[in-house]
């Protein structure tokens, strides 16, 4: 005797009704899952879903077609808008990474990044915050330049942080008068970013910026003269490894980079970690063969410069 098996209906992708907050969330989850899936090379929504079903079948559970567009096409508008928006945002934020990888590889990298780490913040400003981590976790997207790309992602994120982080009232010599030298703790401005890098990406970024500005003036000329030009390839040479210590800071709303001596970097890092001035100086000296006396003049100069740049603040 044949046993009759009843075929269980496939679980719906989206709810049939939205009569509760829970059902509302289910519908939104379904739509988000659909529109946040990466587009094809032709910037279209993939025709097949992950399990082989036609995507149109799933879209039809969510969206109504009209006389001009299918359910699939209506949701595809949102999918394209989502991807264009987030990719554009990272494209603007990461000129250095783009220059190293070239546009096609860069786009693949950031698409993979956004699949693993979609935005978790209300603001697009924070979109690149986990890019350096992703590059380290999944080096295949950036090989053989992973170390350079990691440094660039750190540097480009630092620039975003420096641009709009808080600035506190500057620490002055008067504030020093009342302090106990043995217990003195200084504070660094919240916007100041200290980076220890394997590549001189600060110079590389400047070169990329300069090239981009030149390209822009070329296109303006083209527009004015209406003469056809062949695109000029101005590749910026990838930097060679070179231990680099750099502070990214700002003055009058403009971002600057300042190279640091390794000992100066150690001192500032120790201050940033809340060490006393005496402990910070000891940390600075710890890695150097020079004596304290040899460094004394340099340290004075460093502190004078840092005071002038307003890097120390009151808390």
């Amino acid at each position: 005797m044949k046993q009759r098996t009843k075929k269980r209906p496939a679980k719906r992708f989206a709810p049939k009704q939205v009569n509760s907050a829970r059902a509302l969330a289910e519908l939104q989850r379904a739509m988000w899952t659909l529109i946040s899936r990466p587009l094809t090379a032709a910037n279209r929504m993939p025709r097949r879903w992950k399990d082989g079903r036609p995507t149109a079948e799933l879209a039809a559970q969510i969206a109504k077609p009209n006389d001009r567009l299918t359910s699939f096409e209506r949701l595809e508008i949102y999918s394209r808008m989502y991807w264009f928006r987030v990719l554009d945002s990272l494209y603007e934020d990461c000129p250095g990474l783009r220059a190293v990888l070239g546009q096609p590889r860069f786009m693949k990298l950031i698409e993979a990044y956004l699949v693993k780490y979609p935005s978790r913040s209300f603001t697009l400003r924070n979109l690149p915050s986990r890019l350096a981590r992703f590059i380290r976790e999944e080096p295949s997207w950036t090989q053989p330049y992973t170390a350079l790309c990691y440094d660039l992602a750190c540097f480009e994120w630092a620039r975003i942080e420096v641009f709009d982080s808080a600035a506190l009232p500057v620490f002055t010599l008067n504030d020093l008068l009342a302090a106990d030298p043995a217990k003195l703790k200084l504070n660094l401005q919240p916007y100041l970013q200290l980076l220890q890098l394997d590549y001189p990406v600060d110079e590389f970024i400047l070169a990329v910026k300069q090239r981009d500005e030149l390209s822009r003036s070329d296109s303006s000329n083209t527009a004015l003269t209406k003469t056809a030009r062949k695109p000029i390839s101005r590749k910026v040479a990838r930097p060679n490894p070179e231990p680099t210590h750099v502070a990214v800071h700002r003055m009058d709303s403009t971002i600057y980079f300042k190279r640091l001596d390794p000992a100066a970097h150690r001192i500032l890092r120790a201050i940033q970690r809340g060490k006393t001035l005496a402990q910070a100086l000891a940390a600075g000296l710890s890695g150097t063969k020079k004596s304290g006396e040899d460094l004394a003049g340099k340290i004075q100069d460093w502190f004078r410069t840092w005071m002038e740049l307003g890097w120390f603040c009151q808390r």
Binding site: P15, K16, Q17, V18, N19, S20, A21, A23, L24, A25, L27, Q28, R29, M31, W32, I35, S36, Q61, I62, A63, K64, N66, D67, R68, L69, S71, E73, R74, L75, I77, Y78, M81, Y82, R85, V86, S89, P118, S119, R120, S121, F122, T123, L124, R125, V162, F163, D164, S165, A166, A167, P190, Y191, R250, S253
Partner: protein
């Protein structure tokens, strides 16, 4: 209404959006402008150039905050750290009212950074209204919701968009930021009469209006804000002004932004429609003041 409880009983006139390409012009030439609308999210930061520029603008101009990320229709509760930042900004700008969109945009903590349309159901309206009330109570400021343009409709919807908008604002007891261009765009994408929309919303709740340009594609219109409003949108604006009264009006221009003067001149065209609305009111000799609801 020129002044009502949803816009802090103000009568702000015609404004434009504060945009980066115009910063230098505004700060150096100090043009006469009734008010600027600022995108809240651009200033929810701790320092730097955004806040420095904003503070300079605030020395000279009235500012109203408009947001793009509260996502009243998204599941879950609002992000309190975001609300705290927003409240600090409200204190800084002294905005008389605050607006954001009637939409959703995040789910399970992931953000789309888009204004996704709501399914028009009673359950969705209740959820959205509850969230609006929560945000308004937290921020302690009048709140208005803006109708978005949309490109899709849901099977689950139980009512029209204007019925949903009305249901939400009545439940939440909040104001409306009426985006006339968005109504036009959606009317073409969903084949409805935009005047049915304008005629059937609670006019006494309209606290501000938006006008903008859009782009026509082969099969749909897209709300792109990259050029001036077209004539049919201006006609709808004139009709809305007759229904709702002379209301704080703002021209949005967010892409391919021309010179400050071009944007401002375009915004000031609304004064012509405002004058026509006033004249029509006088000619008709109605006792009903401009903006008073029809009964």
């Amino acid at each position: 209404m020129p002044a009502n409880r949803f816009n802090g009983f103000t009568d702000y006139g015609v404004g434009i959006g504060l945009r980066i390409p115009h910063y230098d012009h505004i700060l150096t030439k100090k043009p006469t402008v009734d008010w600027f609308e600022v995108i809240s999210e651009n200033y929810l930061v701790d320092g730097g150039r955004p806040l420095a520029v904003l503070d300079k603008i605030l020395e000279q101009y009235r500012v109203v905050q408009h947001g793009v990320s509260l996502y009243f229709g998204s599941p879950g509760k609002p992000d309190r750290s975001q609300l705290r930042r927003l409240k600090n900004l409200v204190k800084r700008t002294n905005t008389p009212w605050l607006s954001d969109h009637l939409c959703w945009g995040s789910v399970d903590g992931s953000y789309s950074h888009d204004l996704l349309p709501m399914p028009y159901t009673f359950a969705a309206a209740k959820h959205t209204a509850d969230k609006i009330k929560y945000v308004r109570d937290f921020l302690e400021i009048p709140l208005c919701v803006e109708n978005v343009s949309s490109y899709t409709a849901y099977h689950v919807s139980e009512m029209s968009e204007w019925e949903f908008l009305s249901e939400v604002v009545e439940r939440a007891d909040c104001g409306i930021l009426l985006d006339v261009n968005n109504i036009y765009v959606s009317s073409k994408n969903h084949s409805f009469n935009p005047y049915d929309y304008l005629n059937q919303i609670p006019h006494q709740r309209v606290a501000q209006m938006h006008i903008a340009g859009h782009t026509k594609f082969e099969k749909y219109l897209l709300d792109t804000h990259d050029h001036a409003p077209i004539d049919p949108v201006w006609k709808m604006y004139a009709h809305a002004t007759k229904l709702c009264g002379v209301t704080a009006t703002l021209l949005e221009w967010d892409d391919k932004i021309p010179s400050f003067d071009e944007v401002h001149d375009e915004a000031l065209k609304s004064k012509q429609y405002i004058a026509e609305a006033r004249a029509a009111q006088v000619t008709e000799g109605r006792a009903r003041p401009l903006g008073a609801p029809r009964v």
